[in-house]
Every structure is written in structure tokens, then in C-alpha cells.
Amino acid sequence: MRTFIIARYLIRRLLHAVLVLFAVASIVFFLGRVVGDPVRIVLGVEVPEERVQAVRDQLGLNDPLPVQYIRFVSGALVLDFGDSFWQKVPALPLVVERLPATFALTGTVFLMAVPLGIVLGTLAALRPDSILDRGISVFSMLGVSMVDFWLALMLILFFAVQLGWFKTSGYGGFQYIMLPALTLAVQPFGRVAQITRSAMLDQFDLPHIGVARAKGLRERRIVFLHAMKNAAVPIVTIAGDTITSVLNGSVLIETIFAWPGVGQLTLLGLGRRDLPLVEATVFTIALLVVIVNLVVDLSYAYLNPKIRYQ
């Protein structure tokens, strides 16, 4: 019976995810058809009108919108978004080959922000108003109030040019990933620490923690046995949000650091009015977000039986 409930829940969530993806793809399709004029960008200024029309025909942009939409949907079903206008090869593989860079960056930011944020947030909650607590508050407040591209340039000028510790830009190992990851990690770290702190504080005020305290259990045990388990839900939520916010910020930060991820490709695709490419990138990013949300939802169900499988 239990397996049945879990299976039904899973299937519902999956169907929901597919619906969301389909809707996102359709929105981008319809937005895309009214976006500027891709052909003019591809061909440049000095091209006669007949050539423009010929290319529009060739790309199928002169067909009625419903025809284009049906062609788009039937392609999207088999993950074929057509050839990139710009690079003249299938669009989705172009996005897929950018995924390792995006995963590497997202993963590094996640590792920098989330474990550290949880640990420091918990420590802050244990000693409210201590120097650590105030320090974390100030840092996280500064983090969410900072203009990210300005921070990025400052980090480059200081750590890469002045000190020479890291590379200014480019794709590679530790020396290359540190600065973009640092830029992107500042905000999520602050948020994770803040949320952990307040979630833990809430837990400390609840009666069963008081009971545990009264029983004379060691503080550390109290923290990990009781508070942590219950505070996990908001922490998981914010950890999931971290991934989404990195995918979001990556459009800008990947461009500055010349990091060849999906964000950079998205901006290039938009700039060149490359409809198939934009469709493929937005679809891929939405897919990642949907997967992260699915994982977050499933862990809610695991962490908090009350909201399990409703």
C-alpha cells in the first residue's frame, strides 16, 4: 500500500514536471516568434531583400505560426529544437556540451555556500548576538545588497591581477573556477546562514527542545538530534533555491569570466536572435530547475511526514 502511495505521488510529480516543461517551451516559442528579426542579424546590413526572404523561407520563418508551432512541438518531443541559426548545427547538443561547465560552477558554488552556511548559521543560532552571529548577519546582508558584476570585476582586479592567485577568466580547474564561484556564492551563503540561524532559533524556542534541555542532554546532541531534523525543511528549500539562483546569476557572471556554460550561451543566443538555440537553452535550464524542485519536494516528504504525499 505504501509503495503504491509513493508511486502515485511520484507519477503525479513527474506529470506535473512534464506539464511545466511543455508550458515553458511553448511560452518561449511564442515569445521567440515576435523577437526582432533573426535573419537580419545573421545576414548583416548590406544584404538585398530577396536574400533575406530566401533565408526566411529556408528557415521556415515565413510559414503561418500554427504550422511553425506544430513543427516545433513535434521536434521538441524528440528533443530536436532544430539547427542553431548562428552556428548551423543542431541546437540542443550545443547546449548539452555546455552542461559540464555549468554543473562544475553550480556544484562548486553549492559546496562553497550550503555546508558552510549551515554550519555557521547553526553556530550563530547557538550564540545569538555573539560576534560570529553579527558577523554573519552583516556579511549576508552585504552579500544580498551588492551589485554582482561590480563585485566580480573587483575580485578579478584584486585576486587575479594584483595577487595573481587565481586566473582572470577562462575554463579550467581550481584557479579558474574560484573567482566566478566566489562571486556567485556570496549571496546564497548569506541566505543559507540566515535561514539556518532563524530556523534553528525557532526550534530552540519549541517545548520539546526545552524538555531535551531540561533532561540535561549535551547541547551538541540537542542540536543534532532534535533541532536539525526539524529545521531541515527550510534549509533544504533554500539549498534548492541556491541552485536556481546560480543558474540565474550565471547569465551575467559566466559572460564576465568567459566561463563556457549555459548562461553565457543563452546570452549569446539572445543577442544573435538565434531562436532554436534560445529555445533549447531555456528548455534545458527549466529542466534543471524542475529536477531540482522535484528533489526538494521529495526530500520534504522524507523530512516531514506531515506534508508527505498530499
Binding site: 506535473h16 506539464l19 511545466v20 516543461l21 508550458a23 515553458v24 511560452i27 518561449v28 515569445l31 515576435v34 523577437v35 526582432g36 545569538p128 548576538d129 548577519s137 546582508m141 552585504l142 544580498v144 545588497s145 551588492m146 551589485v147 554582482d148 558584476f149 561590480w150 570585476l153 573587483m154 582586479l157 532563524s198 530556523a199 532559533l201 525557532d202 530552540f204 524556542d205 525543511v233 527550510p234 528549500t237 536556481t244 539562483s245 543558474l247 540565474n248 546569476g249 547569465v251 551575467l252 543563452t266 546570452l267 539572445l270 536572435r273 534560445v278 531555456v282 535550464i285 527549466a286 530547475v289 524542475v290 524542485n293 520534504y300 506534508i307
Partner: protein, 319 residues
């Protein structure tokens, strides 16, 4: 978010302590950080509303011979105010541009927050109050829009409609309404089944009347707190869009645009981007700090802790 909405929050009405303006004043003066934040925001609002009076120079007046001058450079004629914060790449007075930029940034922040807040809250409250398919439809919409990262979505929209003040406001608003909808819905769900709503239904009040009189006052406080942080996020988002080439066009002056146009000079004329950056940082920081205070005050558990913060023995008791 999930827990915030899932947890039943007592209404402000039901909690004890000072109310209204008395509460607000006590909150502001209770804590130097909050006091400073409010002061900063007041100054920004004054800058925005009376830029013409305050600015020592015409923000658009160029003087190429005085370009990239460091702070405290004397102005062309001796009678006028010196360029206290230096001049930018076209020799325009940075202080005056910051003062005029406050207008743009504040208006974009407030207007966008108002539009997205009203739209999102209304949808959320409707979803939570009516439930059923309306709820499903609205929340699916929220899920869908939330699956596209917000900056990317705003970019997509701006690519279609092109840059411009209203386009910018609408594109930003279009991707910031979902959180209000989620919070509004969660809150509305909580109060939908509360005794006073049941009572109002029993005496035959209309849905609109119930939402207006009973639901809205109760859900307002988390929404206002969210709106405060949103203003900060939107001021920063305008800067991000400037970087990507979708900010406001000249002659509009905005802080984000100023930071971005000073970007190539970061190594040689740092003041062009540093001062607007600093002003933006202080403003968004103040908004975030104010939101944190509001959050503590609105939360009954933290509120007592917060208002009694001055008494050190409480902390000792906690240990």
C-alpha cells in the same frame, strides 16, 4: 517559503503590545541600525523627490575637458560647487547624477514592486480563498514562470519589447509576482478556515467583502516584508540589466547605468562606478535591514525577543 506558509501565523490583531504608529516609532528608535536604515531611506526619497533643488550641477551637462576627474575637482567656473565626487567619462558631475539617479532607481523599485506585489498578492489570495481549480490554475502558472530563472525571463521579454522605462518596469514585474502569490495563497488558506471568516460567511458577507475586511489585513504583514526586500532586489536587477545592455537609455540617469558605464574605467577612474555602487549598496542594505526588523516585529516569537533586546539577562537565561 514552504514552512513560512505552512505554519499558522497568529494575526497581528491577536498579539499583544503596542500598535500602529506607536509601535513603528518604538521599533525605529529601539535600535540604532533600524534608525539608520530608515534615515538612509528617507534621504534617498528626499533626493528622488527634490533632485532639481539638491543637485549642484546639471546631471546631463558634459565637459569633455574635465572628463574622469577625481573627487573634489574644482568646477569650470569658480562660483559653482566643486565636483565633490568627481566627474564621469563625459565630464558630468557624479554627485548630481547620483541624486538624479535616485529618482529613477527609486521609481523603478517602487513601481515594479507595487505592480508585481498587487498582481501577485491578488492572484495568491484568490487562489487560497477559492481553492479548487482556480487554485490549481494559478499555482501551475506560478510553477511554470518560476521554472525560468527570473533574470533570463526579464531579458527574454526585453528582447521582444525593446528597452525603455515602462518596458523595463513591466519585464521586471512579470518575473517577480510569483512569491507574493505563494505567500498570499498560504496566508489566505490559513485564514480561510478561521472562526472570524466562518462568522463572516454565516452573516452573509460577500467574498470580496470578506477578502477585503478579514483576509487582507491579516496577510498584509508578510507581504509588506517581502515587498521591502523586493525593492532592493529590483534596484539591483536594474543594474544587472544595464550590464546586459537592457537598462535605461540616456538621458535617463540610473545608478545601475552609472555603475555599468564606469565599468571600463574601474582600474583608472574608480570613482565613476564606485560612488553610485556605494550609494546603491547603502540603499539596498538599508532596505534589507529594515525588512529584517519588520520580520522580527511581525513574528510574535521573535518580537518579544526583539523588543526586549536591551535587557541582557535574557540572553544569559537562554544559555
Amino acid at each position: 517559503m514552504a514552512t513560512q506558509t505552512a505554519r499558522l501565523q497568529p494575526t497581528i490583531e491577536s498579539s499583544s503590545g503596542p500598535q500602529g504608529i506607536a509601535l513603528a516609532l518604538r521599533v525605529i528608535f529601539a535600535d540604532p541600525i533600524t534608525f539608520t536604515s530608515v534615515l538612509v531611506l528617507l534621504i534617498v526619497v528626499i533626493m528622488a523627490t527634490s533632485a532639481n533643488i539638491l543637485a549642484p550641477h546639471d546631471p546631463a551637462l558634459q565637459n569633455l575637458r574635465l572628463r574622469n576627474q577625481p573627487p573634489m575637482t574644482a568646477s569650470v567656473s569658480d562660483v559653482t560647487f566643486p565636483h565633490v565626487l568627481g566627474t564621469d567619462q563625459l565630464g558630468r558631475d557624479i554627485l548630481s547624477r547620483i541624486i538624479f539617479g535616485a529618482r529613477t532607481s527609486v521609481v523603478i523599485g517602487l513601481l515594479t514592486t507595487a505592480i508585481s506585489g498587487v498582481f501577485g498578492s491578488a492572484l495568491g489570495i484568490i487562489a487560497g480563498y477559492y481553492g479548487g481549480w482556480i487554485d490549481d490554475l494559478i499555482m501551475r502558472m506560478v510553477d511554470i514562470v518560476m521554472s525560468i530563472p527570473s533574470l533570463l525571463f526579464a531579458l527574454l521579454l526585453l528582447f521582444i519589447v525593446g528597452p525603455g522605462f515602462w518596458n523595463l518596469v513591466l519585464a521586471l514585474a512579470a518575473f517577480r509576482w510569483m512569491l507574493y502569490a505563494r505567500i498570499g495563497r498560504g496566508q489566505a488558506l490559513n485564514y480561510r478556515n478561521s472562526p472570524f471568516v466562518d462568522a463572516a460567511v454565516a452573516i452573509g458577507s460577500s467574498d470580496a467583502g470578506i477578502i477585503w475586511r478579514h483576509i487582507l489585513p491579516n496577510v498584509a504583514s508578510p507581504l509588506i516584508i517581502l515587498a521591502t526586500t523586493e525593492v532592493a532586489i529590483l534596484i539591483l536587477a536594474e543594474a544587472g540589466l544595464s550590464f546586459l545592455g537592457f537598462g535605461l537609455q540616456t538621458p535617463s540617469v540610473s545608478w545601475g547605468g552609472m555603475i555599468n558605464s564606469g565599468r571600463p574605467y574601474i582600474a583608472t577612474a574608480w570613482w565613476i562606478s564606485a560612488f553610485p555602487g556605494l550609494v546603491m549598496l547603502v540603499t539596498t542594505l538599508s532596505l534589507n535591514l529594515l525588512a529584517a526588523t519588520l520580520r522580527s516585529v511581525a513574528d510574535p516569537v521573535q518580537r518579544g525577543r526583539w523588543l526586549n533586546r536591551q535587557r541582557p539577562h535574557r540572553n544569559r537565561n537562554r544559555r
